[in-house]
Each structure stands twice: as C-alpha cells, then as structure tokens.
Symmetry: C2
Subunit: 683 residues, 2 copies
C-alpha cells in the first residue's frame, strides 16, 4: 500500500488531492483504495462493471510536483480493449482496475466513478445529496461446492462477500435461501447481490440476487403522505437520479376532508382506522405501479421505500388507530424511525423483500413530515436562525439553528385549506389563487389556477370558460384578505367597512355584517365577515406559535423564514406578512421550500447516514406544547389584528404597492439578516 | 449491595451457598440479585407474580456459621397477606420481594422459584435441561404520556424495560406498535411483554403483550420432521413442562416413500418441491392445532417453534428445492441455524408473530436431525468416545468426544426401513418386530406390534386376529437374519443353507435359492435369499461408515454406542452386533437414545444458549465424505459377512442364548468401558 519509498512512482488523485507512492505495477483501483480515494467498483476489480473509470492526465504538474509521461500507466490490456469494443469507453478513460501505475501520475476520478456521487437536487437552492443508499449491489465470485469441504452455498456466498468486499456478519432473507442454488449455478458461481444495511449499522441482509454481473439497477421510492395528496418519487439507487414522479389524491378523503374528521371517523367506526389504512396503502401500491410504468421498470426492481407524513398519516399507514392523536396528551404509539418489510405494511407493488423506512415523528402533533422538512432544510447545520412553517390543519413550526432547535404545532384549523371559508375550495383549476385590489377604486384583479392570465387581461373570460371560476384557494384567501387590508376595505380589527357601500358595489350588507364581492359570474365569489374572522383566528394561532418559540429561544426576530408544504409553496410571503401570519423578517429571506417533506423523504432514501442524522436531530428537538404555554393565549389574542403598514412589520412601511408575482422580493428592499437583533435568553 | 460490614446481617442462600451481608431492611429479592442468586421475578419485585417465593429457615446452622431467629426476616406485610388470601401461598413460604432481612438468615430458593429451572427429561438417563428460552415474559410499569414531555408510548415502554429490567436496545414488531396503545390503557399503564432474543445475542424484539400482569403462560413447539413421521411436543416456556405431544404421518409420503424418491419427484415435476413443502407445512399446522387442543390453549399462545430434520426435510420445510441434495457434491443451500417468522415458512397455527428456529445441518447428507441428536447426547462434553448411529435411508453416523467429533453418512438404502424386503413393511400393528429361532429345531417364535404375547404363548392367535400378521418391520428383519445366523440357517456369507430342507419345512427352495418361512397364515411371511442380501448390503454400508470414522479417529473400539431415531429405539443391540451392523462394544454400553432428534429440538426450544452451543459444535464437526474415502469400499466389502460367534465380536462369544427382551443387558456381562484399547492416531 502507500509507502515512503521515494523510488516508487508518486500517484496523485484529483479532485481529492490524496497522494501516495506505490510500486510499479500497482493497479490504480488498488492505489485508490489504499489512499481512501472514493473510486467505485461493483465487480471488485474484475473489469466487468466499468464503474472504476478514471482519466489519467499527462504533462507537467508543478502544483503536484510531478511530470507525467505517456508511459506513467501500463499499456491498454486485453480486458480494457474488450470492454471498449463491447460497451464503449469514453476517449481518455481507463479502467482503474486494469491500468497499472508505472510512473509519476495525476489521476482524475470523474464524478460518475465516485461511490458517493453527489446528487444535485432540482430545487432552487441546488443543495446536493451524497448518494449512499441503504441497499447496495455487490458482485461476487463464489467458490464451488466441494465434497471434501461440505459447506452450504449460502456459507460460501457469505464467505466470498467477506473476503471480496470486507462485509462481515451478513445474514440472508428466506427468499434468498430459496432461490440461491439455481441462481448461483445459472451465473456459473458469479452472482450480484443486493444487501440492505439496517438502521444503526445492524447487520447487512442479502435481500435479492441475480446470476452473474447484474447490468440493471435497483430503485427506491420516496413517499410524502399528505392528508390531501400522496406523492411518490422513484429514484435509481445506483445513480441517485429521479426517474419518475407521480401523485394521487389521498383516498382517505372519502372518510373525512381534514385530519380531525378522519380521527373522528376512526372513533365512530370500529373498522374505520382499518378502512383508512387500506385506502392509503392501495394508493401507495397504485403509485408504485405508476412510477414503475413511467420509468419502464418492473415493480420487482423497487427494493426500498421511505415514508414521511404527519402523525395521523404516519399511524394510519402503519395500521395504528390514530385515536390517541385526537386528544390530549396526543401520545404517539411509536415515533422513532423504523424499518419494516414493505409487505408488512401492505406495500406489495415492489420487490417481495423490499424494505421500508419511516422517518421519525417529533411529537403527537409534529410529524415525520416536519422531520423530513428539517432534514431537507438542515437548520441544525446553520448559524442563522431559521423559522420553518408548514401550514395545514395544524401548523408545524420549527425554529432554531445549530445550537438549538424548537418545534411546536399550532391549531390553525382548516381555514387555510379553504374549509370554513364560504367560497373556499381545494387548490384546483378554477380556484382563485392570486388577487390584487386597487386601493382607490376597490376593484379586484385576480388569477385562477390553470390560467396564466389576470382577470383584467384580454382573453381571460375565454381562457377560463371551461374551468369556470369556482372558488378561492388557500393562497387566494390569504392574498384577498391582505389586499382588503391594504386597500382599507377592512380595518385593523378585520371589520369590513360598511361605510364603503356608498363608494362601491363591491361591498354589500349580509345581515348585520358586510362582504366584499370578488367575482359575480356563474358563481358569486365573495369574502364575508365570517371568512375574515376565520382567517384571523387561523393566522393568529400560527403567529402565536411562532412567537412562542421565539420567546422560548429568547429572540425578537428570525434570520430566515421558510414556508414549507404544498400550501407554503403558493403563499405570497409579502401578503402573509401583511396579514400577520408570520413574524417580521427581511422579505428576501422569506422563501418557499416547495415540497420540502418530499425532499426529506428522498434524502433518507438516497443516503442511509441521513436516517441516523435526522433520528439524532429529532431526539434533540425541544418540543413545546402550545396548549400548556400561558403566553400562547396572550400572543394569540394579540395577533388577531391585521396590522398593515405598522408595527410589528417595519419592513413593510416602505412598500407602496405589492408586486403581481410573488415571491421575488422588491429590488433593493433587503439589508441583510436581522441577526444583530437576536438575543439569547439562555447563555 | 453485599458489603463487608460485619454489623450487617449475614444472608446465606441455599442451594447455591452464595452469601453476603446486607443492611437491615434489604428485600430478599434485592439481596439475591446482588449476589447473583438465581431467584425468579416477572413483576420486578412488586408482589404481583409470586415467582420469587423463598423458604426461610430458622435455628442453628453451624455449617453456615449463623443462628437464625424468628425475627431474622421482617413481619408479614400487607402485600404478602393479600397475596396469600387471594391466591394462596404454601406454608413457610414468603415473597422474596416483600420479606426484608433483619438478622442473620438462611434462605432456601425452591426449584420452582429459580429462573433457570432444571427441566428433567423423561428419558432413561434423566438428563436435565436448564430452562432459558429465547422468548421470555416481563412485567413492566410504564410512565403515562405527558404533554410536557412528548414521547411515544413505545419509547416509554422501551425506557421502562431498560430501567426496570436492564434490557437495552430493544425493538418492537409492527403488530406491537399497532396494538400498544389500547393495551397500555386497558392495563392502566402496566403491561406484560414477551421478548424474543434473537440468535447470537441480536437485539431483543417485543413480540407480544398483554394488559397488566399476564397470569397465563406462553408455549413453544418442538418439531422433528422425519421422512415418515412428523412429531411435535408442546412445552410451557415458563416451566419447561411438556404439556402435549402428537405425531402425524409425513404427508409427503404420497410423493415418494423414501427421501430419494421425493428428490426424484421434485426433479420430474416443476411444482414438485412446492407441493411437498405445502404438504409438510399443512401437517405442521395440523399438529399445532392438535397439541394446542390437547393442552386446551389457543394456538395464539404458541410463540416459538424449533425444527429438526434431515437435509431434505429441512430444505422442503424452508421451501428450498432439494434437487442439489440428490447428487454430488450434495450442496446445501443453507445449513446454519436460522431464525424466521413462523409465518414466513407458512407455519400459521401460532401467534401471528411467532418465531421459528431451525437447527443447523452438518452437511448435505447429515442434517439438523443429526445436530439435534448431538445436542441431546452431548458427546462433545464427554471423555469417552461415543458412536452415535441414526439409521434411515442414509445412516447418519457421529463419532467422538470432547476433543474431536467426526460425522458421515453412509448409503444404507431403504432396506432397514422395510423397503426391498419381500415381506417388509412399515412399523405398524401386525408387523413382526421380535423373533427368536430355536437353534435345534429351527422353529421361530415372534411378536407383532400391538400385541404383548409371543407367538407360542396361549391366546396369541386370538389376540392378533384383528390386526393379522402382515409383514416384517425393520427391527424384525434385523432380528430375523441375526437369529437365522445364530441358528445356522444362513452361513457366514449369508447363504440360506439349502441342505436344511431335509431337516425342516421352514426352509424351502424358491428358484435357485432358498427361503426361510416364519409364518404361514393369511399371508405367508418368509425371509428370502434376496432379503438377506439386501440387509447384508445395508448393514455393510453402515458398518463401513462406522469403521471409516474409527480409522479417521485412529481407534479400534468405541466406549459407547447410541442407537438414535425411531428405528434405533426398536433395534436389539445384541442382534445388531450379531448381524455386524455396528462395531464391537461392551453390550451394556450400547443403548437406544429413543427420539434423540426430538429431544434436541426440545432442548433448543427451552434453552437459547444451547442454540449457539450446537451451532458452534456443528461448525467444528469434521465431515467425512464416504464416497471420497477409498477405504470405505474395502470396509464395505469386508463387512458383507455375517460373522456370528467370531471376530470382530469377542464379547458375543460368551452369550449362549440371546434374551427375549432387549435391550436390558445380561446381568454381570459388563466389565467397564473399552477406553483402554483406544489409541489416538493424532497426538
């Protein structure tokens, strides 16, 4: 291995910069392993898998203190020539297991030859995931049975994996034992095995095998089980690439629109929880079928699934009656990260021995979805203090940084989801999602889902003829009420100003209160006084939850705000601030994380180490129970107002008119983080 | 804990003799634990389970150097009084968790209060098994959930098991997570859990739970899967008592009478192995139903099963096609001791999360049944050299002692099982099992299965009228041929003496050879020359196998011979020696081990440590392949003769007439082991 003999050639690997001297004739793969350079190999250096491709560089390298001549590597050998002829090898590439060191040389390991490839997330921030999944493939050559030394085929396979891959203490699934003999013989004693490495470095288990060198790949599916939507991403576990995505309505909706009605259903019906469990598992199997079909692979190639969801979705998926989550003290049955056979939880459209991993739940109200958001956003690695808000029937709120992480959930109720709003509806084509109100005329302009035009653009009527204008989506109701405040249609207490009926027909009396008319078509779409009250209650709860965590942390402002969840992705941060949903923050530091929970599920799928990481982080999260905090009620009452251009929103004072397209911040409005105003309550 | 303070009372436990000084007021259970005294407790010292009962002794104990007065233990307390009132407590007994040390005292721990109870085997040798099963019960009190400290019910249960029972790193089956919440609440936060401790000290898994203190018990079933019979013993895992036993014909018989015909069936029929797997699993489930019904317990209380069987039975049980075991090199798919869910191998008439353990196979011809025999007989713990012979289609032969253990199998063919014998039949009512031939008159007397009388006893005809006399069982054919030799009906080469036709009608010509008539009734039962030849071949193979191992071991005689298996149980050792089936040995050292394989399965069920023990022993057994040993053929040819009163059976020379009832040895014939004639080939 690397030695200090200065007569031996010097080998420098890039990009790692690792270097060592090796005797002439040392294969490059061997040198890389000796130095701990991240160079892949599935076949163990037999010139079969081509995963150890390297690019030698020749010439002068003053930085590395060497000159590499053309003869610094051995000549092409037969194996490489045959490989290039049969499967092709890019110009300049060599097989690391075949090319031998013969002189001083600089060797580049291209990204795709690294074991721990970096998978670039498609999100705005281009964060990377290091590929290191729980289930990996290994090619191995097994000794033939011999009457002089009777040992089982499994014993020799496990021995070969120990000798050739340094994998010890392996066990095998029953199905492996059942299929091993014909497959070993078909592969002429060569076999590729898939090994699943359990949680917390539990012993590896052989979960699948193929005769000879397996040219194909294996897949994993990451699921985000929302109360409304179930989303699935299928990833290639060898490359980390997402090869297919799909989503379905959560069929549990037929048992109750929101979470609490599903818990009620379970309480009222002895078979209720079981029905809901069956329903979501059916959707999962259907989605697995869909993504496999999209990617044109058999479902049997799917060897892993990861799941995130709020506590109630988590429990129903696992077949746990969520009744205890319906009332204090909101005890989870089990919340830790868990590994099961997919078949155990009725997930069958996979390899028969596929494994599933459920991310940990944080508390009875703060689920594995919040854990996944934390994993995706990594506030625990940052210096700045981030506030993460995931809005649903309960808002899940996380606050903190590398030193301390707090979490709570706040009972916002379903208003943000369109329930309890007279014209509220789920986000679907025809639903109003954006709205602006002219402060002078009080006339609205709006956009509906499924159409790029504003309502005052030419052709809008024609473009929306098919879907119609059917209601107001959650993001629309937030903008509507914020704009009503900006246009002084409502006052600071949220009262619709009846006095304006003399100025505009948009405001009209309904009983003893007043409403604001947005659209008068096939359906009359208006915001009533009750709607404003419902949103005030919801936003006050959300704001009070945020404030409670900030009190606990001893800070008066946060550095960054991240709006997570499908709903968060559509909220205009500025309107959310006008409304007083979220604390004050430099507007350019408020961002939507898109489906961060889904991203977290994908991270846990692609990197086993991240599973232990999030389990550790979740254990350390401080859970704050809003119901037990006396200050919560005070904050709640104090947050009912709709402040508009006044405290606590100093940054909004300068904004005369909000732009049409959130969330891009108004130019020049930023002045950096608010960290300098932070103070810590505890030393 | 125990301290050297001589002012503190001295506590001596019997029968262990462990002693220590403890402060006044120390509960006896606590003192026992501190000293490592084996005193049971399921409820953790709460006065619920009554498993820690002890018997204090009062008076002078000069041997222990103390005098115990009546006040050496605390007065009866309320818990004990209530316990005695409600459930009764034997006179003189106290609850170890309640009674406190107040003076010098001798405390006896009765057998039933020991954790590691000794389970006395019912066999002749009264060997004991220490009770220490893989699945054990623990009573625990769990903290209630608290909104101030949100943790899952499972987290608190596992925490309680760690605090109250020092059990760390536990995990739970999915079904536990599903049932945990209602059961914890039903038991008012007290619960009894069953924990399965996996192979090689793998982390414990919670596999079942009951609200409160579970008054009942849990069961385990030990299976011996023979090619002819499947036998099952149901044991109480808390007491080790066998509560029910049952056996069934192995329904695989319809696919082939012997092992090789079942392998052939599998080779000829694509679904053959699957059919045979289904058949044996059906029998197993039926047996579980039978033993549960016998013991009047629900099958759901059965939490563990252990299985032994020859390699082909083992593979078919696990759903492995046994085709590779049908020809050289006879490679097992997997032979190690393995743990599965019972449901994985189609064993469903149990608790839904019951676990199964299969004992290790030794080689492709020497199965888990042989391993179980070794576990039951423990030759690896003995100084004397034991030869264990388990006769079937293949004889499995084990030879050795604590220093070295050898095993081989020898292809005896099915003659001993009654196949290839003209009047042979399976051991069943009506089959001849014992026979004696008068050396003068050549007249036979015999006994049939199902009747206690000999054929020359008055009333025999009437007693056997119903069953008839239908054929010769395996044990009968061995006696018949041995007796034919003793009566000089056959010569040393096994030829039926045609010259005797002039003296007796019992001998008659059939073609060019002669037969011996045993019975002339509804069926004519005779031993033909071909029958003699078949048995000669079989016994020569068996003898040659034994001799091969003795060569390998470098010895000329063995100290003990154990005949194992259902067949072995019925063989007369003396006749087996006359016939030359087994090597010479002092006749009093030849014994039948009965169903030693079934005993081994029961040991592995009742003691988890024995699983590791037999796995370790099996790894170290030297496997000898008869087919590869040139000397095997020589021994085989040399063993064809039927020696009678001559070498190599010196001990038989003194026996004029064999007794009617084997295997009790003739009085005074013993002269101790033959160890002095042993020599070791290897130093």
């Amino acid at each position: 291995m690397p030695d200090g003999n200065t007569l031996h050639p010097l080998v420098v690997f890039t990009p790692s910069g690792k270097r060592g001297r090796f005797p002439v004739g040392t294969p490059v793969l061997q040198a890389a392993r000796a130095l701990g350079v991240d160079l892949d190999s599935v076949c163990g250096g037999r010139g079969i898998c081509s995963r150890c491709q390297i690019t030698p560089a020749f010439g002068d390298f003053p930085k590395h203190g060497l000159t590499a001549t053309d003869s610094a590597l051995s000549e092409w050998n037969r194996v490489e020539a045959r490989y290039k002829e049969k499967r092709g090898l890019r110009e300049g590439r060599r097989l690391g297991c075949q090319a031998q060191v013969t002189g001083d040389i600089v060797i580049d390991v291209p990204a795709e030859s690294q074991v721990h490839k970096q998978v670039v997330r498609k999100d705005a921030d281009d964060r990377v995931i290091e590929l290191d999944p729980s289930t990996k493939l290994f090619y191995v050559e097994v000794r033939e049975p011999d009457m002089h030394d009777p040992s089982s085929d499994l014993e020799r396979l496990i021995g070969a994996l120990s000798e050739q891959w340094m994998l010890d203490d392996l066990v095998a699934d029953l199905r492996i034992v059942q299929r091993l003999q014909p497959i070993l013989r078909e592969g002429k004693w060569c076999v590729t095995v898939a090994i699943h490495f359990g949680r917390n470095a539990a012993r590896g288990r052989i979960v699948s095998l193929w005769p000879g060198y397996y040219e194909g790949t294996i897949y994993g599916a990451a699921f985000d089980i929302g109360s409304t939507t179930v989303a699935c991403h299928l990833s290639d576990l060898r490359t980390g690439r997402t090869v297919a995505s799909s989503g379905l309505m959560n069929p549990q909706i037929r048992f109750g629109e929101d979470l609490m009605s599903r818990v009620s259903y379970s309480m009222m019906n002895p078979e209720g929880a079981g029905q809901m469990t069956d329903a979501v598992r059916e959707a999962i199997n259907a989605l697995l079928g869909q993504v496999a079909a999209q990617a044109m692979v058999p479902v049997e190639d799917i060897l892993e699934c990861t799941f995130v969801g709020n506590p109630i979705m988590h429990h129903l998926l696992l077949g746990i009656d969520p009744v205890e989550l319906g009332g204090a003290p909101f005890a989870l049955s089990a919340g830790e990260g868990m590994v099961f056979w997919a078949a155990e939880i009725g997930v069958t459209a996979t390899h028969p021995d596929a494994r599933v991993y459920t991310l940990p739940c944080i508390a009875g109200h703060v689920g594995a979805d919040a854990a996944a958001v934390i994993l995706a956003e990594e506030p625990y690695n940052a210096e700045e203090i981030t506030l993460i808000v995931d809005v649903g029937t309960n808002a899940e709120i996380v606050l903190g940084n590398r030193d301390r992480l707090l979490a709570c959930s706040s009972p916002t109720g379903p208003a943000f989801e369109g329930a309890q709003i007279s014209c509220g509806q789920r986000a679907a084509p025809g639903a109003i999602e954006r709205i602006r109100i002219d402060p002078e005329t009080k006339e609205p302009r709006f956009k509906v889902i499924g159409c790029e035009l504003w309502s005052d653009d030419p052709g809008f009527a024609k473009a929306t003829a098919e879907t119609g204008i059917t209601g107001i989506a959650g993001s629309g109701i937030i903008e509507a009420i914020a704009e009503m405040r900006l246009a002084d249609v409502i006052d600071i207490d949220g009262v619709v100003r009846g006095s304006l009926t003399t100025e505009t027909d948009r405001i009209y009396a309904e009983g003893r209160t007043f409403s604001y008319l947005i659209h008068d078509g096939a359906q009359r779409i208006a915001v009533t006084q009750n709607d404003v009250r419902a949103i005030q209650l919801a936003k006050a709860a959300l704001y009070a939850g945020c404030q409670l965590l900030m009190d606990e942390m001893g800070i008066e402002a946060v550095d960054r705000i991240t709006l997570a969840g499908a709903f968060g992705a559509h909220i205009s941060p500025l309107h959310a601030m006008v409304l007083g949903m979220i604390p004050d923050c430099a507007v350019e530091n408020v961002r939507s994380a898109g489906n961060a929970a889904g991203t977290g599920a994908r991270i846990a799928l692609l990197n086993a180490g991240k599973r232990s990481e999030i389990e550790r982080v979740v254990r350390d999260v401080e859970k704050i129970e809003t119901a037990l905090a006396p200050r919560f009620q005070d904050h709640f009452v104090g947050a009912m107002a709709v402040p508009h251009k006044s405290a606590p929103y100093p940054r909004l004072r300068t904004i005369a008119r909000l732009p049409d397209t959130p969330p891009s911040p108004p130019p020049g409005s930023g002045e950096g983080g608010t960290g300098r105003r932070r103070r810590r309550a505890r030393a």
